[in-house]
C-alpha cells in the first residue's frame, strides 16, 4: 500500500521528497487517517505544482484533521439518530432515509478523522472498524434504492429492500462498536463517550433479534422504548466522541489557529 500511496504524488515531487517520505510511511502503521491525509496531500501536491494550490493567494490546500473528524462525528451522531428513528417510525420516507445515508457517510468521515492514534496501537482493528461500515454503507444504499423503487415488494430474490437496508445499518453499528472499543482501549478521545457507544452498539445488536420476533426476551411493550434508548445512546456516543475531539483540537491551539487563519 505504501508504494501505491507514494505513486499518487507527482513525479517531480517524488524526485525531491520520495525517499524521505517513503521512510516516514514505513516508520509506523498506517490507519485510515494517514491514508486519507496522504491522498489529500498528493492531490494538493498536484495542484500546488500547477500553481493552483495553497501557494496561490486564495488557495486553501487539503488536509485531514481531528477537526474534520470531530465535526463529522458530532453531526453524524445527531443526524443518524433522527434518520434511523424517523425511518423506523414511518413507512419509507425519503427524507429520513436520506438523512440516515448522509449520517452514515458523515460517520465514515468521522472514523477517518478520529482514527489517527488508535490506528497506531490497533491498526487491524481500526481497518476492520472502518471496512465493515463502509461495506454497510454500500448495502444500505442498495436498500435505499430498492425502497425508493419497489417499496415493500421483493427486491433481491425474495429479500425485501428493508432487510437489505437493515443489514447495512447493522454493519454500521457493528463497525462503530469496534471503533469505540479501540478508542476506549487507546484512551485517545473521551473514554466515557467511547464506552457509551460500545454499550449502545452491543445493545442494538442484542435488541434486533427481539424486534424481529426471532427471540422474545424483552416484553413487547418495552421493545420500542429500549430501541429508542439504544439508538439515542448510539448517536450520543458518536456526538460525544466528536465533542471531545473538537475540545482536544481547540485546547492546545486556540490562539495559534485564531492568529494564523
Amino acid at each position: 500500500m505504501r508504494a501505491l500511496l507514494l505513486r499518487c504524488y507527482p513525479a517531480r515531487w517524488r524526485a525531491r521528497y520520495g525517499d524521505e517520505f517513503a521512510e516516514i510511511l514505513a516508520e509506523r502503521p498506517l490507519g485510515p487517517f494517514d491514508v486519507a491525509d496522504v491522498v489529500l496531500g498528493a492531490l494538493d501536491a498536484h495542484l500546488h505544482l500547477r500553481g493552483l494550490g495553497a501557494a496561490s493567494e486564495h488557495g486553501r490546500g487539503f488536509a485531514m484533521s481531528l477537526r474534520i473528524g470531530g465535526i463529522a462525528a458530532l453531526f453524524g451522531g445527531v443526524l443518524w439518530f433522527i434518520g434511523i428513528a424517523g425511518s423506523s417510525a414511518t413507512e419509507f420516507d425519503g427524507l429520513f432515509a436520506s438523512l440516515a445515508l448522509i449520517a452514515t457517510a458523515s460517520l465514515l468521515v468521522a472514523m477517518i478523522g478520529l482514527s489517527a492514534f488508535q490506528a497506531r496501537a490497533y491498526p487491524r482493528l481500526i481497518w476492520l472498524a472502518f471496512g465493515i461500515p463502509a461495506l454497510g454503507a454500500v448495502i444500505s444504499l442498495v436498500g435505499y434504492y430498492g425502497m425508493a423503487t419497489v417499496g415493500d415488494g421483493p427486491f433481491l430474490g425474495d429479500v425485501s429492500p428493508w432487510y437489505v437496508w437493515m443489514i447495512g445499518t447493522l454493519l454500521m453499528i457493528m463497525g462503530s462498536g469496534l471503533f469505540a472499543f479501540a478508542t476506549w482501549r487507546a484512551s485517545s478521545l473521551s473514554r466515557g463517550a467511547a464506552a457509551v457507544l460500545v454499550a449502545a452498539a452491543v445493545g442494538v445488536l442484542i435488541l434486533v433479534p427481539n424486534l424481529m420476533g426471532v427471540v422474545s426476551f424483552i416484553p413487547e411493550a418495552l421493545g420500542p422504548l429500549a430501541s429508542i434508548v439504544a439508538l439515542g445512546a448510539f448517536g450520543a456516543g458518536w456526538s460525544g466522541l466528536g465533542l471531545s475531539a473538537l475540545r482536544m483540537d481547540r485546547a492546545a491551539l486556540a490562539a495559534i489557529g485564531g492568529a494564523s487563519s
Partner: protein
Amino acid sequence: MTPQIPELGRFAEPALLILVSLSEGPKHGYAIMTDVEAGTGRPLGPGTLYAALARLEERGLIEALAPVDRRRPYRLTGVGETILREQLHELTAFAELGLRRLGRAPR
C-alpha cells in the same frame, strides 16, 4: 491580526508547529511529526507534514540538510527564525490582551 506566515492557506497552522519544533534544532520528518503530536496532542499526518514542509522550504523559512540514511533533516533559516519570533511575540501579545480583558470582565 495579520498572519506572519503568509499565503500558506490551510497549512499555516501545521507550518507554525513545524517551525516551533525546529526551533530547538534540526529534525527529520518523523521526529517533527512525533514532536508536534506529543506537544499538542493532535495528530499530524504525513501528507499534511510534507505539504507544509515543501511550502516552508519554498519560502526559505527552513532548509534541508544532507540526508542521513534515507532521512533528511531540516533546520530553521535566519528568515524562518525571525518570522517565528515575530509570530510568537504577536501571539503572546494577543494572549495577554485576552487575559487582561478576562480579568476585567464582570462575573
